[in-house]
């Protein structure tokens, strides 16, 4: 049986605990609600028209150090990677208007690698402020030369020895596409779609993409391919997954 002093002491605590309980429950509920209402946007980009044929990268094949890294198949350019049913790869999909601001850049870096004297992947997405790590998995030296053109994004040029330490880059201003090149091997290029929010994707070899956890709202979503051009559309995202297909045309 509690004494009166103990009861008063417990009574004094009770309102705080109650308040805390109420607040905690509200937070959990709010978080659950937001998790439940954010939706994914999926889709496919299809190429209409006949693209020009890809070309063999003759200087790569002829290079005495790089050519021997491709014994099975001759490397070709990767301008239009089109799947069997017309799905176009390497299209950068991003929220051009309406994206919530202020999201912190992810701690996990975006990664570019150099293999067989080619950049892998060819097209990459990243958020402003996010680290872009460049690896050199080749037995030859490269120079990693990003060439941004948006004012405020600084051009850099750094040597990278064979299997050498990773290089890190980051920029603060959105730029689609920010080009990486190697001047030692002038056929090497990669392109980074750099945006100020985490809602972006790059289409796969089937032309398909998915942007996850987009909060409810109205947006303008854009599909941007380096050669085929760009097309955008308005979408309204609710609690359910949204579909957004695009068609790009080669004239």
């Amino acid at each position: 049986m509690l004494t009166s002093r103990e009861f008063r002491a417990r009574l004094e605590l009770l309102p705080d605990m109650k308040l805390k309980f109420v607040l905690l429950s509200a937070a959990v509920l709010a978080g659950s609600l937001s998790f439940v209402s954010a939706a994914d946007v999926t889709g496919k980009v299809t190429l209409k028209g006949v693209p020009p044929p890809e070309k063999e990268i003759a200087p790569l094949v002829a290079d005495p150090n790089c050519g021997k890294l491709h014994t099975d198949k001759k490397p070709t350019t990767r301008f239009y990677v089109v799947g069997k049913d017309g799905g176009l790869a390497d299209v950068f999909i991003y929220i051009r208007e309406g994206a919530p601001k202020g999201a912190a850049a992810p701690a996990k870096p975006a990664v570019l690698d150099q293999k067989g004297c080619e950049y892998i992947p060819y097209v990459l997405g990243a958020q402003t402020g996010q680290k872009i790590v460049v690896k050199n998995s080749d037995p030859v030296m490269h120079n990693v030369h990003p060439t941004p053109i948006v004012p405020g994004n600084q051009e850099k040029n750094r040597a990278q020895m064979p299997n050498g330490p990773d290089l890190e880059f980051s920029w603060t201003n959105p730029e689609v596409f920010l080009r990486f090149k190697c001047d030692v091997h002038p056929w090497m290029f990669a392109y980074v779609g750099l945006v100020d929010n985490p809602y972006f994707a790059v289409t796969d070899e089937k032309g398909e993409f998915k942007i996850a956890n987009l909060p409810p709202g109205k947006y303008v979503i854009e599909a941007f391919h380096r050669k085929a051009g760009k097309v955008s559309k308005e979408i309204t995202v609710g609690s359910d997954s949204q579909k957004a297909d695009f068609t790009l045309e080669v004239k």
Binding site: T77, V140, V184
Partner: protein
């Protein structure tokens, strides 16, 4: 060593320096043609090594072109330093000593420009670097000419200039247009957009191509190249067409210069032969330009085109300078095979030929007034002058 041998040695060294400069322009052209300008990210070191100790095993890909360019540039810098020092301490003509100093400062500046282009990653500096290289080539060429026995012998000569004001002006104008054409070419090359117009003599199948946005988008959609050049813009197409028109203008001007020389000095004159060589050189350069387009800007052909432009500029400079040096030797007349039209008012000479440095006796001519500076100046005046012992000296 006799003074004459020493000056001959100096002249030969100056010629070596000019020739090395021309080679350096070719090597620099290879750097841009192979898109290797940034293949070595640091300067003045090379991948952290002292430039002269960089292992040959690492001269791979684009590094080979950029690194050899730097090494050869150092060699030209050394030659220029020796030449400038030689001129400063041994050259009796004060203006020549200063010209050597100017060449030294120019080559230093050029090295600095090249380094800054790399360190600051600025393509625009590359255009200055390319243009400055041509100016430096003109300096070394001029020094080679001014130290030659040919020039020195004529410095002592008095008498009216052989070349008319009209010829001199035309030669200078043609040389300047060649220089402007070179700047335009350098601007095009440093866009890193490859060939803005892929066919010749037409342009996208027409005399003058479309430049609207829809057409340019279509071009860029279909343009695949392993070198993945920057997308073509309307400005680049316009610059390319301006370069083609500039080439036509250069050819016409140089032909005019030759025709004037032939008319004024005869077909056997050294000036006439020199200008005919210039015409041939420009024709070859035009062919190289066409070959650059037909070969889809093959690196070696494009580089030959760069060197051809430099040689065309050198030739024009030499002709222009020579036109201000060659004088009518005392005791000689200046006959014309085909007198200029403006001579119609005066008595016509009989036909004879004349060479720079030697001439053939000619018939007597009437003697009008001379210009205040004693120069012929006006072909009309000279054509009707009797030179024999009656011309006042400058």
């Amino acid at each position: 060593m006799p003074a004459k041998s020493k000056s001959s040695l100096l002249h030969r060294f100056a010629v070596l320096t000019a020739a090395a400069t021309l080679c350096l322009i070719g090597i620099g052209g290879l750097v841009t043609s192979h898109e290797a300008g940034m293949a070595v990210p640091d300067w003045p070191t090379t991948y952290g090594y002292n430039m002269f100790l960089f292992p040959i095993s690492q001269w791979i890909g684009g590094i080979f072109y950029e690194h050899t360019h730097r090494l050869f540039a150092s060699f030209v810098g050394l030659l220029t330093t020796v030449l400038a020092g030689w001129l400063w301490f041994k050259e009796p003509r004060r203006w020549m000593r200063w010209l050597g100093g100017v060449a030294f400062v120019t080559v230093l500046s050029q090295g600095l420009l090249g380094g800054l282009r790399v360190v600051l990653s600025k393509d625009q500096i590359g255009i200055f670097h390319a243009t400055f290289a041509q100016l430096f080539l003109l300096e070394t060429t001029a020094i080679a000419l001014f130290t030659s026995r040919w020039w020195r012998r004529r410095e002592a000569q008095t008498g009216p200039l052989l070349a008319t004001r009209g010829f001199r002006s035309l030669a200078i104008i043609a040389t300047i247009v060649v220089f402007v054409q070179l700047i335009l070419g350098a601007t095009m090359r440093h866009q890193h957009a490859g060939l803005a117009v892929p066919d010749f003599p037409l342009a996208y199948g027409k005399i003058f191509p479309r430049m609207d946005a829809a057409f340019i988008q279509e071009i860029n959609q279909h343009r695949l190249d392993a070198r993945d050049y920057n997308p073509i813009t309307a400005f680049q197409i316009a610059a390319h067409m301006a370069h083609r028109l500039g080439a036509l203008m250069v050819l016409l001007l140089v032909i005019l210069v030759w025709r004037r020389a032939r008319r004024e000095y005869g077909p056997a004159s050294a000036l006439t032969r020199g200008t005919l060589g210039w015409v041939g050189m420009i024709c070859l350069q035009a062919l190289l330009g066409a070959a650059t387009v037909w070969s889809n800007k093959a690196a070696d052909i494009a580089t030959f085109h760069v060197v051809g432009g430099a040689v065309g500029l050198m030739t024009g400079t030499l002709i222009s300078l020579a036109a201000f040096r060659v004088r009518t030797p005392a005791g000689r007349t200046v006959p014309w095979e085909n007198p200029p039209r403006e001579d119609a008012r005066f008595s016509q000479p009989s036909i004879a030929t004349m060479n720079c440095g030697s001439s053939v006796a000619s018939p007597h001519l009437a003697l009008p007034h001379l210009n205040d500076d004693g120069n012929a100046g006006d072909a009309r005046v000279r054509a009707s002058r009797q030179v024999q012992g009656k011309i006042s000296t400058v």
